[in-house]
Symmetry: C2
Subunit: 288 residues, 2 copies
């Protein structure tokens, strides 16, 4: 920053736990292994919520399909998981099933099933349009209610409530919603299925945002957990931008900025983060 | 209140749901019925936490004892309940068991037992010295941990936690403590055993306290739920006094006061409340 002719160096710091989570790293590894044995694999939906990674894998032979009908030979189940009925379809079509469902998501699916079978009114805290949540609903025999706010929690009248969470939910929202149930229902059984990685990533982003003049959040615009990171940062830093790639960076964002913080969603590969850092360093050289 | 020679009348308002709860009314009724058939009955601990009522019943033949060894013929179990082992002692001594355990307390005992048997780390939110809680601990095979604050909740490291509450706990404290568990543990199963009556009594007391210059809380000094009412009122009203009987009222409390609010704990009989109101009216006549 130029101040009375004195040049101040700009600090770029990356939040701890930014980028790929365990489940995504694992899914990528499973896809890599499978692509050594199969020329083409059909991924049921994009392998992760990141267009750059999906584009790269498309070239390697991982074709994105929307339904089992479009798939041949081998199907990759991405980390988000699928409803039990889709496993049946894969089996009926005699397709090879390459299952990269995140083990933590699988655990949440099991809890959804258990809570439904044990007579609970199943509540899933999350985004009803997210593929992970859609699968959870299916495991609760399509009887689960998906909510995302205290207001929606207030509208639930059940007396025996079983609660799970989308793995990428924010802990604060989950706790607030559960508190509403505790006040009203007789029995509340909670499986905290929020992933540690998400929590740690959010916590680190929050801490970094507090001490940054500008926060850059990198990740797919369609990635729920990246959008959540963006929202969290907005609470603690005045200037926050959500980008997918370095091309979206704007020189004017960095004017008068001394501390730049960077974080990235669970589906953002490290090479994309590094690209952004290099681009910021270049912008800074241009400014100062 | 005397103001420029104008006499303002003082309003005395009684909080809704003040006084005896369902469990206490029921226990008193059971004792009355039993005293028609038995000249002397041994009450295991005072029938309710109110010295005036206990004194009255002592005259009717209800003798307070501390242990089964001191009892003969018939034993009254008060609304707080007793550990399962004490039922065995009563049975071994061939005493008649007059069981006035509050059905809501009984329900909480069943949950404590169930949670212990199903492998939960049992947490009871309440006062570890309260007889109700002591019985709950026994139903959880003496493996339950009693806590009363967020700090104590933070110290619990278990991953599968079953939570019940003393029936007279405040909802806010219960929710705060449960929230701590939701943040840390994998599975939390909560039976909200807070009694409706307590909640409603506390809510009414809070509303009245907000609109009163002075709050009088009537109930035994050894009554946990009365002390809790006193604390709640203190948060919303500057002048709050906890008394057992009209004799403790002081004239100076009422000077400059326009709105007097009255509430009473679960073990306070209506005649005691009426006595206090009459005494306050007398004091006011003296002042104005």
């Amino acid at each position: 920053m130029l101040l009375f002719g004195i040049i101040t160096t700009v600090k770029i710091r990356i939040a701890e736990n930014a980028g790929f989570c365990y489940g995504v790293k694992r899914a990528i590894k499973i896809a890599d292994e499978a692509l050594k044995k199969n020329e083409i694999i059909y991924s049921l939906g994009p392998i992760i919520h990141n267009p750059q990674v999906v584009g790269e894998y498309e070239k390697k032979g991982l074709k994105v399909v929307e339904t089992i009908d479009e798939a041949k030979n081998a199907v990759l189940i991405r980390s988000h998981g699928i409803p039990p009925q889709v496993y049946e379809q894969i089996s009926e079509k005699n397709l090879e099933c390459i299952d990269a469902t995140c083990p933590f998501v699988k655990e949440a699916q099991d809890y959804a099933k258990q809570l439904y079978e044990e007579g609970y009114f199943v509540v899933i805290v999350g985004d009803q349009n997210h593929p992970e949540v859609k699968a959870h609903i299916a495991y609760a025999n399509y009887k689960a209610q998906v909510i995302n706010s205290i207001q929606e929690a207030k509208n639930i009248e059940a007396q025996k409530i079983g609660v799970i969470s989308q793995t990428t939910q924010s802990m604060d929202n989950f706790v607030s919603i559960v508190s509403e149930f505790v006040k009203k229902a007789k029995e509340i059984r909670i499986f905290n299925t929020i992933c540690d990685a998400t929590e740690k990533r959010q916590e680190s982003a929050k801490e970094l945002a507090k001490n940054s003049d500008l926060m850059i959040v990198i990740g797919g615009k369609n990635s729920a957990n990246t959008r959540k990171l963006y929202e969290i940062c907005l609470n603690f830093c005045k200037k926050v931008y959500h980008i997918e790639t370095k091309e979206e960076l704007k020189k004017e964002w960095f004017e008068g900025v001394e501390n730049v913080g960077i974080t990235a969603g669970a589906s953002t590969p490290s090479w994309l983060i590094e690209d952004v850092i290099k681009a910021i360093e270049k912008i800074e050289n241009d400014i100062y």
